[in-house]
């Protein structure tokens, strides 16, 4: 059987795919806005060793890291509304699931950064009369974050990749638009080939940027 490839239909509806890409970017952005600050809170709670709170942070991080992203998306879309009696749309459910999970990953990234800063920095801040929070805020965190910037980049890229799973609850992102286009045009192979390449170009570029940043930061350290 000889298959006739025909990409022209896909390119004729390329703007429809681009609309989907906008959805992908929005979801990534909102999930990040949840994950980055919440992850920092978790990391600090974990490091501080406050009884109960630290254990809760560890349990949270372990639980979300052990969960499959797609299961979390389904849980927040179908199960969580039953619990809270509020209907979540696909966007809120996906953003919540992915944001809360990514926070667990970000927490571990921040923690490794904070713990990589030598004791001497803490001692020096203390010698200057700084208490815990100003020392953390002005001395430790700026250095720690700088060190983990490349890893943060990789985590963001990973999140972008994971948002594709929101297609399973019919959120209008790139993959869901691809599914609709594929069933409208009867060209699933061409559609998914184009979408795969769109993801590849974006994610590959960002990963290379992360590597470049890593080399640059390593030089200036």
């Amino acid at each position: 059987m000889q298959y006739q490839w025909d990409f022209s239909v896909v390119f004729r509806h390329f703007d429809f795919l681009l609309q989907g890409a906008v959805g992908t970017i929005e979801l990534t952005g909102v999930a990040l806005a949840i994950a980055m600050p919440w992850g920092l809170v978790l990391a600090i709670l974990r490091i501080l060793r406050i009884p109960v709170l630290s254990q809760l942070a560890v349990a949270y991080i372990d639980l979300f890291r052990a969960s499959a992203s797609l299961v979390l998306i389904f849980w927040f879309f179908f199960a969580f509304p039953v619990l809270i009696h509020v209907d979540l749309g696909p966007f809120s459910a996906a953003a919540l699931a992915l944001g809360l999970q990514a926070a667990a990953y970000f927490a571990e990234v921040y923690r490794s950064g904070i713990q990589s800063i030598g004791r001497g920095q803490w001692d020096a801040a203390r010698a200057l009369g700084m208490r815990y929070s100003p020392a953390m805020l002005h001395v430790i965190l700026p250095q720690a974050i700088r060190r983990v910037v490349p890893v943060i980049f990789l985590r963001i890229v990973d999140l972008l990749k994971t948002t594709s799973l929101a297609a399973a609850i019919s959120f209008d992102e790139l993959v869901h638009h691809a599914q609709r286009l594929a069933s409208d045009t009867f060209r699933p192979v061409e559609t998914f080939t184009v979408v795969a390449l769109m993801f590849f170009v974006t994610i590959f570029t960002f990963s290379q940027l992360a590597r470049w940043l890593e080399r640059r930061l390593a030089r200036s350290d």
């Binding site: 969960s67 849980w75 998914f192 979408v195």
Partner: protein, 220 residues
């Protein structure tokens, strides 16, 4: 507050069991295939031949940077065209996830192989060993020992990834959970049960891998 009621799970335990079997079968096949693909690609990545290195790099970068879901869909539609066989959810999912995960395994093997000192290679050459025998008897045994934590982490990722196969109607745990949720009208309990079973499996897996790591550390 809604009433939690898990009793339907006992009545319809075979639906859950089918899902568990589907997840385990897909995870096992994917794991075996991606470990093999990863080994070949990882060896190519650390070989001295530039074309081999380039081919393996292209493979790794390509498959690692495309979402697993897109690859699952792609294989689902392309396999019938390329091979002429009927659309098959298991084969498509296993192929897609193996290539995807194989790219991650390749990087683990590569860093493991490259962590072995040059002197080992030279000593092996001095003994008259060729490339493949050096790999098999000198380099890989200690390298794999060093890789165990990374390999088990990736194995856990593979189990989590199998849930993606539910999107092409492969009967694994998540798909069976959807089925239960729709027929019993109990989404909260169904999806919570699916999440709990999967996490239980992963906790077992990571407990086993920690034990393995400790045993290997003793023999170092």
């Amino acid at each position: 507050m809604s009433q939690w009621n898990f009793s339907f799970l006992l009545r319809r335990w075979h639906v859950v069991l089918d899902g568990l079997y589907g997840t385990l079968a897909l995870a096992a096949v994917t794991l075996a295939a991606s470990l093999a693909i990863g080994l070949v690609a990882g060896m190519m990545r650390s070989s001295r031949s530039a074309p081999l290195r380039a081919a393996a790099t292209a493979y790794v970068e390509f498959f690692r940077n495309i979402p697993a879901l897109v690859q699952v869909f792609w294989f689902f539609y392309v396999l019938p065209i390329l091979t002429g066989i009927q659309e098959n959810a298991f084969v498509s999912a296993a192929a897609a996830l193996s290539f995807y995960s194989g790219a991650f395994f390749a990087e683990i093997y590569r860093s493991g192989i490259q962590s072995i000192e040059r002197g080992q290679w030279e000593a092996s050459k001095a003994l008259g060993f060729r490339y493949l025998r050096t790999m098999r008897y000198i380099v890989l045994p200690p390298a794999i020992k060093r890789m165990v934590p990374a390999l088990t982490n990736q194995a856990i990722e593979v189990v989590k990834l199998t849930t993606v196969a539910s999107t092409i109607a492969y009967h694994e745990l998540l798909y069976q959970g959807q089925l239960l949720s729709q027929t019993e009208f109990r989404p909260l309990e169904s999806y919570t049960a699916v999440a709990a079973i999967l996490i239980g499996m992963l906790v077992l897996l990571s407990w086993g891998s920690t034990r393995l790591e400790r045993r290997l550390a003793r023999t170092e």
